[in-house]
């Protein structure tokens, strides 16, 4: 290495011209790859953060055992079904709620700590950053709920592989929706102090009015409308239907614990419910990607 600070004689021929090593293949493959890179970072970050991992694994246990047992002592399901069993699908949904939404809002952290810029100047599209964030958050949140799913036996739900897979599918969809919501919020709100209360304000009513903690039958009409506008309702309802479908319940019990979800008198099939969530999620991600591209 030269220690002479003056301009040294640097002839062009002596030094090789750098050749870009980046490979840009066909567009879709490139987007998919970029999305996967961003997704993987989310997983890597989760894995390296022991405290976050521990708290997120313990939190759902708290829900099912403390809340289930506590509330179960005063709630009478009016049959053989324990309140914990009834509660279980709702707890599953609640457990992914916070993890997923916070994962979405981590975009604000990325911006604040500067890392976002590293992604912004890379030869990848803005949309793949958004998709990567959403998928990463959704995978982490779904992964967390697997701990709870492993415990279905303790609340009297059979270990049926098909049921478990179906539940994982619902949870993933719900997680993706919530992460997208967090990401969308992050495109508009640029400070952590602003984003966190806003997020709480959005997801707490969503949690209570989704049917996760109590049946949605017998609510006042106006509240009933609100629950039908809550996308999370269409995640909790199918999961509860799946779970209760695997149990022996009388028709009366079933009707009371799982009142039919109707739109103006029409009973909405499970498929349509899930499709609704999927469409809303796609719209949120699309909107987030568009806002993100415009403002950053």
């Amino acid at each position: 290495m030269s220690t002479d600070p003056t301009t040294t004689d640097r002839t062009a021929t002596a030094r090789p011209q750098p050749v870009p090593l980046t490979v840009v293949r066909s567009d879709l493959a490139h987007h998919a790859r970029a999305t996967w890179v961003v997704t993987r970072r989310e997983l890597l970050r989760f894995r390296t953060d022991r405290a976050r991992m521990a708290s997120m694994l313990l939190q759902p246990l708290l829900f099912i055992f403390v809340m289930g047992v506590g509330l179960g002592s005063i709630v009478d399901t009016g049959g053989d079904l324990s309140f914990q069993t009834f509660l279980f699908p709702g707890v599953l949904a609640t457990s992914v709620l916070f993890t997923a939404a916070f994962a979405g809002v981590s975009l604000v952290w990325d911006r604040e700590f500067g890392f976002l810029r590293e992604m912004m100047v890379a030869p990848i599209s803005r949309a793949s950053i958004i998709w990567g964030k959403c998928l990463g958050g959704a995978v982490v949140a779904t992964g967390q709920s697997l701990v709870l799913l492993a415990l279905v036996g303790t609340v009297g739900i059979p270990y049926d592989p098909v049921l478990l897979l179906e539940l994982v599918g619902c949870l993933f969809l719900g997680s993706l929706f919530l992460t997208a919501l967090g990401v969308l919020l992050s495109t508009r709100i640029t400070t952590i102090q602003g984003a966190m209360p806003m997020l709480q304000l959005l997801i707490t009513p969503m949690m209570f009015l989704s049917g996760s903690l109590f049946p949605l039958g017998g609510l006042p009409a106006w509240l009933s409308v609100v629950t039908r506008l809550n996308p999370l309702t269409y995640v909790v309802q199918p999961m509860r239907e799946l779970v209760l479908g695997h149990l022996d319940l009388s028709a009366g019990e079933r009707a009371r614990l799982l009142p039919a979800l109707t739109w103006a008198g029409w009973e909405v099939p499970v498929g349509v419910q899930l499709l609704t969530v999927a469409v809303i999620t796609l719209a949120l991600v699309g909107l987030a990607a568009r806002l993100f591209a415009r403002t950053e």
Binding site: Q17, V24, G114, M120
Partner: protein, 332 residues
């Protein structure tokens, strides 16, 4: 890839009439007012100016982060607006603010970068090893960035900017807030880098002494490039060198200088001092023509601080406020 022709090479950066206006309602701000720049491949180009001069906006337009209002810019042969992705593949960036993922290790940060730029597994392994070695962080590769010092983080960021073998490396205030040893080390890395590959380095800095490391310098003020040249030429353009002599006969020396060189000299602080245009050319004549015994000679070149003062009407620190670590430049 194709062979590089040794004929006239395309400039690494070519900017024509680049303008950026921020709509501000009643008072739109014209941050960059139609600048022209040309940076040849393989050069180290210094971009100087006070805050608010338009440096950051310019660098952001060159890096495709911001779209120009008008004018064109080509980087590594591609248009920064229409061929954004092509430009991005060929540039490396080191930002003023830290942009590492603190939670991840040094290697994970580099790996993420390599993946973002689509490097093959083999290329990524090779380049990560190379750049870590270059900035002497090989033994810390598995440590989380959280535990790194400011200087180490900066070195890692430079390494990361080089992982994908860019043709042009942009550095925005790479040495800000670092101690003098680390600053010197970073310039050593950059110098070594230039010797190894035909990389173009575009660097903004506040430290006038660092601008001396550059092949060419542009000084920007109020959204315009006020002057552009080599550090040497800029220094010559603003004035004269000062020669100070210690002799055994000052009277005779002053008389001879007047007689033979046609320059008025005086005694200041016990030394014969005179001002000339090219100090280095005058010193040999002093020895042969003065007929006095010369004990010591000092030639003081005008500093880039003087250049900055001349072209912007203020010193770089006047315009910035006090800045820790910015030693009085020129008094080296």
């Amino acid at each position: 890839m194709t062979a590089v022709s040794n004929t006239v090479r395309e400039p690494a950066i070519e900017v024509v009439g680049l303008t950026k206006r921020y709509p501000g309602g009643d008072a739109p701000v014209e941050a960059v007012r139609g600048i022209d720049l040309r940076v040849e491949a393989g050069q180290t180009y210094g971009f100087l100016g006070p805050n608010g001069a338009g440096k950051s906006t310019t660098i952001e337009m060159l890096c495709t982060i911001r779209n120009p209002t008008s004018g064109t810019a080509r980087v590594a042969g591609f248009d920064v607006v229409r061929q954004r992705t092509e430009v991005r593949r060929r540039i490396g960036l080191v930002f003023q603010q830290q942009t590492l993922d603190q939670q991840l290790t040094a290697e994970q940060n580099l790996r993420f970068h390599a993946d973002l730029y689509g490097l093959s597994r083999a290329d990524a392994d090779r380049r990560i090893g190379e750049v870590l070695e270059m900035v002497a962080l090989t033994d810390r590769r598995r440590d989380p960035v959280l535990r790194f010092s400011g200087g180490m983080k900066r070195r890692l960021e430079i390494a990361r900017g080089l992982v994908h073998a860019p043709q042009v490396l942009f550095l925005d205030e790479p040495t800000i807030g670092l101690d003098p040893q680390t600053r010197a080390a970073i310039w050593d890395y950059l110098r070594e880098l230039r010797q190894r590959t035909e990389i173009t380095v575009f660097v903004t800095t506040h430290y006038m002494d660092e601008a001396e490391h550059c092949d060419r310098i542009a000084i920007m003020d109020h959204g315009q490039v006020v002057v552009e040249d080599t550090p040497e030429a800029l220094k010559s353009s603003v004035g004269t060198d000062r020669i100070a002599l210690r002799t055994d006969d000052d009277e005779l020396a002053i008389a001879r200088i007047r007689e033979r060189l046609g320059v008025e000299a005086g005694v200041h602080e016990g030394q014969v001092t005179l001002a000339v245009a090219e100090g280095a050319h005058v010193v040999p004549r002093l020895f042969t023509e003065l007929d006095v015994h010369i004990l010591a000679v000092t030639v003081t070149r005008p500093s880039l601080d003087d250049v900055f003062l001349t072209y912007t009407g203020r010193t770089i620190r006047d315009s910035e406020g006090p800045r820790p670590g910015a030693g009085r430049v020129g008094a080296r």
